[in-house]
């Protein structure tokens, strides 16, 4: 580890959309894995990670260590997904 460049974070908040909510609701009714919601989470995670990487690059890092991913629901009825990625930007 040559240099520590500080803690960086990035977040992504995604609304699934009404129809996905309906499908997920049906899935909840009959049981089983909800691919629709899984894809939304995956997408939010990708977005957060991409942004984190870009931030790391902008401070001159070539790696991020100790990444922590937080998943939360936000919005009036908890229908939006929030992913926060936090990590330490370093040069190695």
């Amino acid at each position: 580890m040559q240099e520590y460049l500080g803690v960086i974070n990035a977040q992504s908040i995604i609304g699934a959309n009404m129809f996905k909510d309906i499908f997920a609701g049906l899935r909840d009714l009959i049981g089983g894995r909800s691919k629709t919601y899984e894809r939304v989470i995956e997408e939010a995670k990708e977005d957060a990670m991409r942004e984190l990487t870009q931030k790391a690059q902008s401070v001159g890092a070539n790696a991020v260590v100790g990444i922590d991913l937080d998943f939360e629901t936000v919005g009036a009825s908890g229908s939006m997904l929030m992913v926060i990625a936090t990590g330490t930007a370093v040069r190695i």
Binding site: V40, E46, R50, T53, Q54, Q57, S58, G60, A61, N62
Partner: protein, 356 residues
Amino acid sequence: MKTFSGQFYPSYFSPPSEATLLLSDRILSIGFHDQDGNPATQDWSIKEVQGDFLFAEQRSRFIQVHTQAEFRVAGREAFEYWEEIKAESARSWFRKKKTGNLRRTMALLSAMLLAGSLLYFFMVPWLAEQMATVVSKKTERQLGDSVFEAMQSTQTEDTMATRILNDFFNALAIETDYSIRITVVKDETVNAFALPGGQLVVYTGLLDNMEAYPELAALLSHEFVHVEKRHATRSIFRSMGSDLFITLLFGKSSGLATLVIGQANQLRTLSYSRSLEKEADLEGYRLMRERGIDPAGYDQLFKHLKDSSPSTEIPEMISSHPDTDNRMRYIREESRGQVVKEDLRLRSIFTQLKNK
């Protein structure tokens, strides 16, 4: 999304610097140090980048087509990943694996909206109608009677008029499986309605205005059709069906959406009852024609209804009955050239009512 380390050439002539590359399906982002040693980034959009593999050097190369800036990474992996991204973005919009494509989302949304409304406007009512036909006459009668009993406690009956109206209806000799029971209620309101199973309720306010027996015949035949065609039962099932459908779809949603949907639903049941009213008008008129009763009775009835309610200015769209002028018109059209004969029995019963 993948990251690589390699050499960045800011322009064709400048010396390379050690840099990092973020390769994703949306953006190519490069982190490097400028001449003064400060960290800097460059973002390239997928469209303005050409990628290839330099076989001699065994390096993957990405070129920004406008600035001719280059990024080189040792090995084939970066280039292969780049090919994947290119292939994915070249796919037609509806085959993409990823979500977030606006056109596809819109197309899917409209398709689902269409399917949903088809289901809502045709399938649900149809199912409800099917269910309504299963209901036995006995159940209908129990339903109507319980509503009637609940109503009875707050209303006073005009027993004399009730007897006369029942006589009048029997004199019309309409064949039916329902036992029609007419009740006259002392109330100034100009109104009458049919309950499922054969209970007809007429308000004295409506009877007081009547001038001739065809008008009474028109009223009773109209209400009778509501019973015979199970209009009330069908309405109940329809509104239950659509309520259930809406609850299933928007179960937990609250606030504005529910409000809007509720309003739309109400409009729809109104229009349903409008088509039922028209059916009752036309079928009722047919019963009168078979008996040679003057169709002017309908005209009179509508006129009295119109006079009594200042609400005729409500646009037809949001009113439960068809516009009165409209009703007069289609009855007049139907009754063109009809032969009218005087029914002495009905007239004498009607005179009893007026003289009581």
